[in-house]
Symmetry: C2
Subunit: 369 residues, 2 copies
Amino acid sequence: MQQTRLDTARIRAARRVIDPVFLDTPLYRCEALEPGLGCAVSIKLETANPVRSFKGRGTELVASLLAEHGPRAVVCASAGNLGQALAWSGRGRGLDVTVVASRFATAAKLDRIRALGAGLELVDGDHELARERAADIARYEGIRLVEDSLDIETCEGAATIGLELVEAREQAEQTGLTGLTGLTGQTERAGLAGLAGLAEPAKHTELAGTAPPFDAVLIALGGGALATGVGHVLKALAPGVEVICVQPSGAPAMTRSWRERRVVTTDSADTIADGVAGRRPIPAVLDDLLLVADDAVLVQEASIVAGMRMLLDHAGLVVEPSAALGIAAILEDRDRFAGRHVVTIVCGSNVDGAAYRRWVGPAALPHKA
Amino acid sequence: MQQTRLDTARIRAARRVIDPVFLDTPLYRCEALEPGLGCAVSIKLETANPVRSFKGRGTELVASLLAEHGPRAVVCASAGNLGQALAWSGRGRGLDVTVVASRFATAAKLDRIRALGAGLELVDGDHELARERAADIARYEGIRLVEDSLDIETCEGAATIGLELVEAREQAEQTGLTGLTGLTGQTERAGLAGLAGLAEPAKHTELAGTAPPFDAVLIALGGGALATGVGHVLKALAPGVEVICVQPSGAPAMTRSWRERRVVTTDSADTIADGVAGRRPIPAVLDDLLLVADDAVLVQEASIVAGMRMLLDHAGLVVEPSAALGIAAILEDRDRFAGRHVVTIVCGSNVDGAAYRRWVGPAALPHKA
């Protein structure tokens, strides 16, 4: 493939810099989700760490470099997860961290940023205004601006997820199966046929444990750090795997840009998926995304909520809306994924309790005896 | 220490047999929990795997041995998690698995056992009756009985959690800190003093990120596989770490037995923590527990529910009651843990939606703007 800004050797080296608490996250099939989705689904869980999102992988790189060479003060704009992660990584290295966020940002994220000792400045507007304000602060105060998705460390940190996915897939290919031993390829295919709804329930149950290595990865698309990072590694090391980016219909700027192969901005963003609600794609990030994404799809808010409910009811996972985008994409295009094995990256779990309860609702949890 | 039935070398070897999907689970500090608990708390998360509990570590050992040498048919009694794990491990190796459970068992657990293709027999009584029935089936049908906590594989599988804890602790000792770099021991102590409520809020916030390696592990106590397994490894390899077993007051048989140093049975068990609701401790397991446990404490149902709520609200984790026992123990004896660093093993997340909703309640999630 053509060269992105990312470098695979540098991404491998990044693993030695990132605190291990963010690395080698769980990757596991969640069969309880599968009857409702019609395909084999594996979850890459990026929420079981001190900041409950994947962003620590990138901020560890940023903060390490600054602690060694750079200024001791740093500012970023954030919908909340980058800010929380940068606050965590910076605190451990004695950096002075300022986070600029929209005053409409998720309160739980802002609370954690404060608790981690970072300075927090709220702007009376959306994430794009926070980006402008952070850039102003950096300029006026002469401190380092961390720009999510533009700064290569944020992309290459996220890209370490891709390394872990590729490694797991290679191991699955060697054993011939994922998470199971001793079954034949024929049984695998029969099992997946069952999942696609072609077999009767009993057979489905019996065979559902088998699956070939995953052939698609569903990635939440916002600024693009996660998508270009994971996408770069997959295209470099496992080019047969489909890289599918998923964005809310209410915040479609990057997806439209990818489709039109030029930066398309929007006047507003309207989605509960606060982590991916940008309006102004960064040209250099779009260039990378054009090289690594096989597709970019848009999903409805109702599908995001349905995905959050499914992850709660069938996987026991509390997730933020951005982390349900992959499940939403399957729900909206079941035929596309029928009988396949897809990975969805559960990228964050920072939610406001009240909002989460409103979204998933009391009825979302099954009323069983 | 005196010899338990467990063997550290065999436990190390077990890591090569157990499917990696159950190994090297997340271990991370959860600072959002700490202001409410008054101590540093790390979570060892055993729920992000295909069976949502730690039991797969043991059933992988059992099923591997049977697949190599033993009979192809196996039966176990289970409150649900062992059965689900054995069904998963057995399916992958072509074993014929039967699970005997109480008809009052958690429906979600029974559903998963069926979905994994195991035979399920329900008895009209509690877990002890299921144990009797499973033994009868094994005898009549001449198939292998897997007895949780008695069969050494179930203990040594769980013990691999202990290896991971010890390894993480050794790494933390080498760097001098947990999850952070570059701060001094003095700052550590100041940080923990802040957590213990001795410092003012601002200082607490600033310093809370630092903690020495953990000095206690809180372990759910039921049949004893988890407690003797993890306890054995800690006492063998990190004897300074306090091994604290936690059981519900409503199902206190093993705790009373440990205190009286002889098997004490109870006539009934009354707790929402279904996974640890035994009434008849196994003598050989008690003998091991007497060698490895520093303490065994009982907690109230209200504390278990409060622990589940805290894990949901502040850690974003859906857990089953047994997995909240450690938090419950801290809530009931804050002075004991003040300023210390404790690990709690979150051992399972298989809950019935309706019951979980009733326990944690709509009010449990914070009403924030």
